[in-house]
């Protein structure tokens, strides 16, 4: 395993690097086509489906899965679970990278990306929920960057700057939670404007609440999932402090996630009751809704509980994957499957190859940057000079 990240020049041609390289090359080619030929040249988007996989996966899933940043930070700094401290840095790094990639993906998706600052700096459409999302993502990205900077400064050895920033941690964390709450929920609220297009089983006035609550579960699960991945591939970067606390983090997060998923399931049921949508369950869409609710919400909640009780780390890890998948399924359902449910199947959208390439490309870029940062900067370990200073 350690051969993968061998710094030796000769071993650069590892399978990992080859695949990564190919994806990046393909991504760059499609990028050129996208920005010279327009959206129509690379996507299957049409007038019925103005939002495709780039919004469903890169934006909705990306933002939800990057929720680990604010949940971990809040757990550690606000709720005082000090033993999670070692998990904060990887989570914040992931979140920062996640949001940066979301913004990068948006450059592909919007028609005129150079105007992305317009809603904030030129003309503000404050009645739009997308405005709120944009503003929050913009601010939160800044916050995450500031939260991440100490890591960079420690690496570079800029002590004064680092100390000044660390003092602001609490403010940044609370600000981050506020912003995250807002834009996580607003992503769901985006769809409240189109009750006629979203299938009644997924449409609800509670959509923002659903999105927010499920984002917590997504964030916690992502931290568990990434932790296990990092353990496998970046083990040598971890100090004993990180490793000692890792099990506590996993168990605590598993319990928390189980609890949140239980709440999420209950909320979804309330939403169903409130709109009296039970009759829709007896249809094709209803079956799919039940699959989502039972296999991707109820089941992980139960498995997490069992895993936490038995201290079964393998089960927790697999459940984390299941939960993450569940969130992805949910976001795809809202934005693609149940969206335009009234259209005949031949008018339905399916992503084009080049759209998928760009999505994979962006994820790959994220992984590469994460590896670059975490193998150099004090992410999984405490910088020897700053031990115990937090």
């Amino acid at each position: 395993m350690s051969t993968v990240t061998n710094d030796d020049f000769k071993s650069y041609l590892t399978p990992f690097n080859i695949v990564t390289g190919l994806i990046i090359i393909a991504g760059l080619i499609v990028t050129v086509i996208r920005f010279t030929g327009g959206l129509g040249a690379v996507t299957n988007l049409d007038d019925n489906y103005p939002w495709g996989i780039w919004i469903s996966f890169d934006l909705l899933c990306g933002v939800a899965l990057a929720a680990g940043g604010y949940t971990t930070a809040a757990a550690c700094y606000v709720f005082g679970f000090k033993k999670y401290h070692s998990a904060v840095r990887p989570a914040v790094l992931t979140a920062f990278l996640g949001y940066a990639l979301v913004v990068m993906a948006l450059h592909y998706d919007v028609g005129r990306p150079w105007r992305l600052p317009y809603p904030i700096f030129v003309q503000q459409g404050t009645t739009s929920l997308l405005f709120e999302v944009g503003l929050c993502v913009f601010l939160y990205l800044t916050v995450l960057f500031l939260e991440f900077l100490p890591t960079l400064f420690e690496w570079k050895g800029w002590r004064k700057l680092r100390d000044a920033l660390v003092k602001m941690t609490l403010v940044l964390v609370i600000f981050g939670v506020v912003l995250s709450t807002l834009h996580q929920s607003s992503l769901g609220a985006l769809y409240t404007i189109a009750p006629s297009k979203l299938h009644p089983l997924w449409y609800s006035a509670y959509l923002p609440v659903f999105f927010f609550v499920s984002s917590i579960a997504a964030g916690l699960s992502m931290v568990i999932f990434e932790g296990s991945l990092s353990h496998k591939y970046l083990h040598r970067m971890m100090d004993s402090e990180y490793n000692r606390n890792h099990d506590d983090v996993v168990l605590g997060f598993a319990k928390g996630c189980s609890w949140v998923l239980f709440g999420y399931f209950a909320l979804k049921m309330i939403g169903l009751t409130y709109d009296n949508n039970w009759s829709y369950l007896a249809s094709g869409f209803g079956a799919w809704f039940l699959v989502e609710m039972l296999c991707f919400v109820a089941l992980p909640a139960f498995l997490y509980a069992v895993g936490a009780r038995d201290k079964n780390f393998a089960l927790i890890k697999w459940t984390a994957i299941l939960t993450v998948l569940g969130i992805v399924v949910n976001r795809f359902n809202v934005s693609l499957v149940a969206f335009n449910y009234h259209l005949p199947s031949e008018d339905k959208y399916f992503p084009a190859m080049m759209e998928i390439i760009i999505s994979v490309f962006i994820v790959t870029v994220g992984v590469v940057v994460f590896r670059f940062v975490s193998t150099r900067m004090p992410v999984f370990f405490e910088h020897p000079e700053y031990k115990g200073q937090h």
Binding site: A282, G284, A287, W288, L290, L294, C295, F302, V306, D310
Partner: protein
């Protein structure tokens, strides 16, 4: 691990559930309607236990005609399943005259049905029918057939075929046979008697829930009466007998077929059906019954009475009950009084005659006639509203004085005096000052008045101004821009419409002046042989100020196209511009 089994089990259950849901998804989302036949007239749902609180087995779908046919092949008839009462009337019910208790009824069906089927099996028939033990062959669920059933009433021509028939015995000492079906209950004698010229429609007494002393409900009465007689005819091998199966009377397609056959028959009789021998009046003077009042009370002003050609309307309606919807024994004004009465459901005389959407009212029926393609071209475009237009009042409520003043010369070129007819009605429908018209109190007097003064004077053929006065071709060129001017074959259109209303007494009566018909197109203008140009009202330039009134371009198109559509003229297609105005050649 303590929970491995539990987790595996639960996951397994979920997986199975998912699979089931996926497989079932299509079934669940489908509305099950396909796979059934289009509906049968002879389907009877037998549910003997329906009166019980607990349902025991699903209802039996009994296909009556299938059984009738099977019995006929075995040289059996209705009597195989239906018994006759002491008077020889066949019972509408299966193997019984009266309904026993539910349990006994169940046994009755089970015993008799299976007994017959068992015999069939013994006789080695191809399809003996379900045997004992094959419960689900009869008690099928869900239903595989649907009921489709039309009312099998007697219309005028079917009625004629019966009373004209030699196969039906004549009444004692008379040359009619009405008494064979029509009857009345004599309370003194406690029996059914026949009184000539006082025949009543069956539905008056035999309602769906008849009151004492009437015993049979509508279905029982009709089936008892009709089927018994048809069966007798069959038994005596008369030259023909009426239908003994369900579909002939109650099947939609069969009914249509029968009507087509009758229409042919009517054609043979020159379209005139002999009148019923019930001594009904030829003409009636419809006038409101005045409420009782003291001698010195002021006499109210009333609308002029309406002379009504009963004979003509007998031909135009399907059955007596189209108008006489409750009974034949009283007149309209008995129940529908000026103020409304409980008997008449508080429907006033005015509503009863003018309700635009009722099938029994004059206006309602006439409105329905206007939907005929020959009429609809003009009439569909005319705003109806909830009331008939005031100008039409005087067409029915005729002032005898004015008629008597008018010259008897019908073909007068000068038609201006026709408009005078409208005047008294237009003044809020009240009588003009002067001597009120005296309406005779006695029936004969009224009939005479109706005859002499009004009905005899009504036109027998449609009125129209002289053909040469009708512009031949009208060139519409005011808008010619993209296309060449359109040439409207004006006279041809008028004459073809005249042809269509040639034999239509409704049209000849109501198109009361030679220029009435012009108003189909030249609407909203005074009666005149030279109506004002369309542009007078239809201004092309601006939409403002004429909201909802079409501009000239649209006025022409709407007029022509909607008329063509309503009259069912396929050519020219509305979107085929060049068929009316040729493309301009540049």
């Amino acid at each position: 691990m303590a929970y491995r089994k539990l987790v595996l089990g639960l996951s397994g259950c979920l997986f199975v559930l998912v699979c089931v849901l996926f497989l079932q998804a299509d079934v669940m989302s489908m509305i099950s309607s396909s796979g059934k036949d289009s509906g049968r007239a002879d389907l009877i749902m037998i549910q003997a236990m329906a009166k019980q609180t607990t349902k025991q087995a699903s209802a039996v779908q009994f296909l009556h005609d299938a059984h009738t046919q099977a019995l006929a092949e075995q040289d059996k008839d209705c009597a195989a399943c239906h018994i006759k009462d002491e008077s020889g009337t066949i019972s509408y019910k299966y193997m019984r005259l009266e309904d026993p208790a539910a349990n006994r009824l169940k046994d009755l069906y089970h015993d008799n049905c299976t007994a017959c089927h068992a015999e069939n099996a013994k006789a080695r028939m191809d399809n003996p029918g379900p045997q004992i033990g094959e419960c689900r062959k009869c008690h099928v669920e869900p239903a595989t057939s649907t009921q489709a059933w039309v009312s099998g009433g007697m219309d005028n021509i079917l009625h004629y075929i019966h009373w004209d028939s030699d196969l039906i015995a004549k009444d004692e000492g008379k040359d009619t046979n009405c008494g064979q079906c029509h009857h009345e209950y004599d309370e003194d004698k406690q029996e059914l008697v026949y009184i000539q010229f006082a025949e009543e429609g069956c539905r008056s007494c035999h309602t769906s829930e008849p009151k004492e002393p009437v015993k049979a409900n509508l279905a029982e009465a009709f089936h008892g009466q009709c089927v018994t007689c048809h069966l007798e005819n069959k038994e005596t091998q008369a030259e023909r007998n009426g239908p003994l199966d369900c579909a002939s009377c109650h099947g939609g397609p069969q009914r249509l077929e029968m009507q087509a056959k009758f229409a042919e028959k009517l054609e043979e009789m020159d379209g005139v059906l002999p009148r019923l021998p019930r001594q009904q009046p030829d003409v009636v003077l419809l006038a409101a019954k005045l409420p009782e009042r003291s001698k010195d009370a002021t006499h109210p002003t009333l609308m002029y009475p309406v002379p009504f050609n009963h004979e003509l309307h007998e031909q135009a309606t399907d059955a007596c009950r189209d108008c006489h919807h409750e009974t034949l024994k009283s007149s309209c004004t008995d129940c529908h009084t000026l103020q409304g009465s409980e008997q008449g459901g508080y429907i006033t005389l005015e509503r009863a005659m003018h309700a635009p959407d009722s099938k029994s009212s004059c206006v309602g029926c006439h409105n329905e006639m206007k939907q005929d393609p020959s009429c609809a071209g003009c009439h569909a475009a005319m705003p109806q509203g909830t009331e008939p237009p005031a100008s039409s009042c005087a067409l029915c409520h005729v002032n005898p004085d004015i008629l008597s003043q008018r010259s008897m010369e019908r073909q007068s070129v000068d038609y201006t005096d026709y408009t005078e007819m409208l005047i008294p009605a237009q003044a809020s429908g009240r009588q003009p000052a002067g001597e009120p018209v005296v309406i005779p109190e006695d029936k004969e007097g009224r009939v005479v008045l109706a005859h002499q003064l009004i009905i005899d004077r009504r036109g027998q053929e449609a009125l129209l101004i002289a053909e040469e006065d009708i512009p031949n071709v009208v060139k519409i060129d005011v808008l010619a821009d993209e296309y060449q001017p359109a040439e409207l074959p004006h006279r041809k259109i008028v004459m073809s419409m005249m042809e269509k209303m040639q034999d239509n007494s409704l049209a000849t009566t109501f198109h009361a002046t030679p220029v009435t018909m012009c108003q189909g197109c030249h609407h909203n203008s005074p009666l005149s042989a030279e109506p004002p140009s369309c542009q007078t009202c239809h201004d092309q330039r601006s939409q403002e100020g004429r909201l909802g009134r079409p501009g000239l371009l649209a006025a022409y198109h709407i007029q022509c196209m909607s008329c063509h559509t309503e009259m069912g003229l396929e050519k020219p297609a509305a979107t085929d511009c060049t068929s009316c105005h040729k493309q301009k050649e540049n």
